[in-house]
């Protein structure tokens, strides 16, 4: 499905992003970063916290503008896709509206886009994320994992061209997180949307992505790109193979070089 000969889904050309801090100093989050995500490709951005990977995602989402360089999504400015309601996004804070039910939260993008609610599509997604029977529940009645399922269903409901995932499982415990990764892999395989996932979990990145891009610490910069060799659909057992473990070790070393410090 990955087609990198056509115009890429996301294209970063020499992007630098700096913020002016209240005390007058400038913080550079990203320097001269170039990368791209192909159509139908799942790319994971891996990096230590504070490396600007979330800034990168916010640039794609049109929530920030680059200080220099260019960001193109489907060959256009991110704002144009936002206006056309073609972006799907899920954050670590699930950002569900507490006064709405599960179903109403998932229907929200239709209402914002001013389109009639496609009830079958909504129900299909509720079933896909395994929340059948919880349509009328409110977010506070759900577990953390279930809230993230709702957030993911909501991000997919308008069949976006680009899916942006900003540490969607970052607040979950390890067991739930692993389970959600397996679920997301299954859900994603149904649609194969061009996806950019931001994470600091190496296993998550390797299990989900076609390609892993490692960013260095502040200011962020691409230090490594890895083509993930595992075929799709991926069975959770892939995480137990020696090859998987070896790649986890390699990427962890890239992320946090031990420099012969002895641990």
């Amino acid at each position: 499905m990955t087609d990198r000969t056509a115009a890429p889904a996301i294209d970063f050309r020499g992007v630098t992003k700096s913020f002016r801090l209240p005390d007058g100093k400038t913080l550079t989050a990203l320097t001269d970063t170039s990368l791209s995500v192909g159509k139908g490709e799942f790319v994971a951005l891996l990096g230590p916290s504070g490396c600007g990977k979330s800034t990168l995602l916010r640039l794609v989402a049109g929530l920030e503008a680059p200080s220099s360089g260019a960001v193109a999504v489907e060959g256009r400015a991110p704002e144009e896709l936002v206006k056309a309601h073609r972006l799907g996004i899920a954050f670590q804070e699930h950002a569900l509206l507490p006064w709405l039910t599960v179903r109403q939260n998932i229907e929200l993008p239709f209402r914002i886009a001013g389109r009639p609610v496609m009830r079958e599509r909504v129900q299909g997604l509720i079933n896909l994320v395994g929340l059948a029977g919880f349509e009328a529940a409110r977010p506070k009645q759900l577990s953390g994992g279930m809230r993230q399922r709702v957030a993911i269903a909501r991000s997919l409901v308008l069949e976006p061209e680009i899916l942006l995932l900003d540490e969607p499982f970052g607040a979950l415990d390890a067991v739930t997180r692993r389970q959600m990764n397996v679920e997301l892999q299954r859900i994603w395989s149904e649609s194969r949307i061009s996806t950019l996932l931001v994470t600091h979990a190496v296993e998550e990145a390797l299990f989900l992505a076609d390609r892993v891009i490692v960013l260095s610490g502040r200011p962020g910069k691409v230090v490594r790109t890895l083509e993930v060799p595992f075929a799709r659909p991926r069975h959770p057992d892939v995480m137990r193979t020696a090859q998987f473990h070896q790649l986890v070790d390699e990427l962890t070393e890239t992320l946090h070089p031990t420099d012969g410090a002895g641990h």
Partner: protein, 263 residues
């Protein structure tokens, strides 16, 4: 889940049981009435100094039409003023939210206006609107305005974590942000404003009536105390208290219901 909890949980108390329990919560008031009665009888106080509680209730019982007419007058003006203040306070808070220029104009005016003691405004308003119901209505509206303006204003900014970014990425327009996000987010705060304003509405109406001496419970209180008719003066207070407490209880239960659903 909630169904089985109801089925297995303890049976709800009967209506009589619940009324009994509610009365039991007010045993302190009954104690005060008994002590008051005892104090007057034991000290042999003059009726003008301090009537017995029994005599106060007897006066209400003997003149139901008079009390009801004045009560309805005050209640009507208090409710009308409350609603006017609610509409004005909420609308101006929304206008201040919608534009930075309006915010800079309206917020200081609202604050200065609310800092003027209401008693100082009565003579001015009475000159403008006449010594009648309109002025009482205006006083209550001004008193109610402030909590609605302040609490709605801050509530419009109390958004669920991540929801503002979410709405941006979904391409929400300003009015959608207002109706789908900001206004629902403000509702818990708005009910706090309602509670504070309703506690003051009847008080405000009575102060205005008392000072202008036109109609309602305030005027009744004023006239009765001028005529050393202490039973009637206290009777007016009892009616006002019943009105205030009823309104307060209704508003608190509404607030609890909103809080239950919103958090």
């Amino acid at each position: 889940m909630s169904q089985s909890a109801t089925a297995n949980g303890p049976a709800r108390p009967s209506l009589v049981g619940r009324i009994g329990r509610t009365l039991l919560n007010f045993w302190g008031i009954a104690l005060i009435l008994v002590l008051w009665e005892a104090l007057v009888v034991l000290n042999d106080f003059n009726v003008i100094v301090m009537p017995r509680p029994w005599a106060v209730f007897a006066d209400i019982w003997a003149n139901p039409g008079l009390y009801l007419q004045n009560f309805m007058q005050t209640a009507w003006v208090a409710m009308g003023g409350l609603v006017l203040g609610m509409i004005a306070g909420t609308t101006i808070a929304v206008l201040a939210w919608s534009s930075r220029i309006l915010n800079g104009l309206l917020t200081p005016i609202g604050l200065i206006f609310s800092s003027i003691p209401v008693v100082a405004m009565i003579p001015v308003l009475a000159r403008m609107l006449g010594y009648g119901t309109e002025t009482v209505l205006a006083i209550v509206a001004i008193l109610s305005f402030f909590p609605f303006f302040v609490f709605t204003g801050s509530g419009l900014k109390l958004l669920p974590a991540g929801s503002a970014d979410l709405f941006s990425v979904f391409g929400a327009k300003k009015h959608q942000r207002l109706f789908h996000l900001a206004l629902p987010s403000a509702l818990p705060n708005w009910t706090v404003a309602l509670r504070l304003a309703s506690a003051n509405a009847i008080l405000g109406a009575m102060v205005a009536e008392f000072l202008m001496g036109t109609s309602g419970l305030g005027q009744m209180l004023h006239a009765a105390s001028q005529a050393f008719n202490t039973e009637r003066a206290l009777g007016a207070s009892v009616c006002a208290t019943i009105g205030s407490v009823t309104l307060f209880v209704l508003v608190v239960s509404l607030e609890a219901r909103v809080r239950e659903r919103w958090t």
